[in-house]
């Protein structure tokens, strides 16, 4: 799923204060955490209350949701009848949703309520989300026993481990930061290539580990990117 993190309410309000009638649009798609109808209703109330605190009492928010905000047909057919009087949209989807809404309704300003942070999955116990895929376009999970070195290795090397692997741990720990970006805690991180070695050994495929991998073609992973649908 696409992992998102809510923007501070102050930032959202700074986008929305110039407007009077806001449609808050949730997405029933794949964000983690999910930002569906309930989230939209919550934001609608929060924005009105927050705006009031900043002296703007005539802001009105309405909540709704769309099955998928990344599909322009679904967006247009769902929302076309809900835009009467709306002078701004707050999208709770990932960056794709925001941009799709802009494409579909170019006359209405659309603002993001979330920061899209990475493609990842959820570790349910303890609730830590990890980046799992970089969409590099050259998937090598078949050679690494299913462990991605691009997202798990800070250097993203293809012929690891490097000299910074000590005792199976990476020279670079996880850094956990607070909202201001200051590091509050570091957690030791397993070396991705060490894990890959262990996995391939278990699968009896050390031939895949031993294999030399030539440099990546960076053109494949550099933006902007598009793919033709045949």
């Amino acid at each position: 799923m696409i992992v998102v993190k809510e923007k501070p309410l102050d930032e959202i309000l700074s986008f929305l204060l110039p407007y009077n009638h806001i449609l808050v649009v949730g997405c029933d798609g794949c964000t983690q955490p999910p930002r569906g109808l309930r989230e939209a209703m919550t934001y609608a109330m929060l924005i009105e209350m927050g705006a009031k605190l900043k002296g703007k009492t005539n802001i009105k928010c309405r909540a709704t949701t769309i099955a998928k905000q990344c599909d322009n047909h679904i967006c247009s057919t769902t929302l076309i009848s809900q835009l009467e009087g709306v002078d701004a949209i707050l999208s709770l989807a990932c960056g794709i949703g925001v941009q799709t809404l802009v494409e579909v309704f170019p006359e209405i300003p659309v603002y993001p309520a979330q920061n899209t942070v990475f493609i990842g999955s959820q570790e349910r116990e303890g609730g830590i989300l990890h980046e799992k895929c970089k969409a590099c376009g050259e998937c090598l999970l078949g050679e690494t026993g299913g462990i991605c070195p691009i997202t798990n290795c800070p250097k993203g090397i293809l012929n690891g481990p490097c000299g910074g692997c000590v005792g199976g741990k990476c020279e670079v720990p996880f850094e956990i930061r607070d909202e201001t970006g200051k590091i509050v805690k570091t957690v030791a991180k397993d070396c991705a290539w060490y894990l890959i070695y262990q996995r391939l050994k278990k699968l009896n495929r050390l031939d895949l580990f031993r294999k030399y991998r030539p440099p990546r073609n960076r053109a494949i992973s550099s933006s902007p990117r598009l793919l033709e649908v045949v």
Partner: protein, 311 residues
């Protein structure tokens, strides 16, 4: 077939046991201190080449390309140009390598490089367009095919380098390290300089494990200037084994009150301990030399080599 472009490689191929040193230039335009260390190494008559570090531990320093050239020119000591992938994309690497060849540098040590965030400039972008193994591949193609990694032809004469890479005898399990070394050798690594080893048994096990690989192995050693330095390795550098007896003895020496006497005793102990070490590892045919990382301590190198050679 390995060709000898450098003195280092020529000596190795001629069957001579080689000694290399390590030089670490600073974040400065002034190379005078490093040059004086290089002179000391040159004057031993036995140090065949010395490494010049490239932003070691991700602390920005003067370009290792420039330092390698100037040191070689000023002192006549052959340099081993250390080139890391942390800070340059492949175009920059190719460009620097062509420059190095034009300046007469004959040895390159290809490294992945310490992570950018660990040094004094954590805000820098980590590049890692290539990793150390891929850099070996690139250099090999330039030297032996006259092409870069994308197959573009190099105009005129091909660069002439002997290609080195790093290895770590301390890694557990050793199997992983052996597979890595095999990869690097497959794509063209001709000599390997290892991470610091204090315990001769670790070096001997390593040399046995790599004996099937067609490359020259130079075991890295670090004669400490003080007990504190040795203790630092034992406590804070995970994976490096420091024998208890070694630490004990250094500790006793560190308790000598007179500074001059203490320094003398440390030098003596280092020479005694590491010459025994060298004599032991020399016996392994895969061991072609010793890489002495006595950074800022070049005065111990000459006497150590003399003792190790039985002179």
């Amino acid at each position: 077939m390995v060709q000898a472009f450098s003195n280092l490689m020529r000596n190795i191929l001629d069957g001579r046991f080689v000694y290399t040193g390590e030089l670490e230039p600073h974040k400065s335009i002034d190379l005078s201190e490093v040059i004086s260390w290089a002179k000391t190494l040159k004057e031993t008559g036995r140090v065949v080449a010395a490494n010049v570090t490239d932003n070691p531990k991700s602390v920005g320093a003067i370009s290792s390309l420039v330092a390698s050239y100037i040191i070689q020119r000023e002192t006549g000591l052959e340099t081993i140009y250390q080139l890391r992938c942390s800070d340059r994309n492949r175009l920059a690497l190719i460009s620097d390598l062509l420059g190095a060849a034009a300046l007469g540098i004959r040895n390159v040590l290809a490294l992945t490089g310490d992570y950018v965030r660990q040094g004094d400039t954590p805000t820098a972008m980590p590049v890692y367009d290539l990793d150390g193994t891929q850099l070996v591949d690139l250099i090999h193609r330039m030297v032996y095919e006259g092409k870069d990694i994308d197959g573009n032809e190099i105009h005129g004469p091909r660069p002439q380098f002997n290609i080195g890479a790093a290895a770590n005898p301390n890694f557990k399990p050793l199997e992983v390290e052996v597979l890595k070394i095999e990869r690097k050798a497959e794509v063209g690594a001709e000599f390997f300089q290892t991470q610091v080893v204090f315990d001769a048994n670790v070096a001997l096990d390593f040399l046995d494990a790599v004996k099937h690989i067609n490359a020259a192995f130079l075991i890295g050693i670090f004669p400490p200037r003080s007990y504190a330095q040795a203790e630092y390795f034992a406590k804070y550098v995970p994976g490096v084994q420091v024998p208890a007896e070694f630490l004990e003895n250094l500790k006793k020496i560190s308790e000598i009150p007179d500074k001059k006497e203490r320094r003398k005793k440390i030098d003596e102990y280092n020479i005694e301990y590491f010459s025994d070490f060298i004599k032991a590892v020399k016996k392994k045919p895969s061991c072609k030399g010793i890489h002495i990382m006595a950074v800022g301590y070049p005065e111990v190198v000459g006497p150590l080599i003399e003792r190790a050679e039985g002179l």
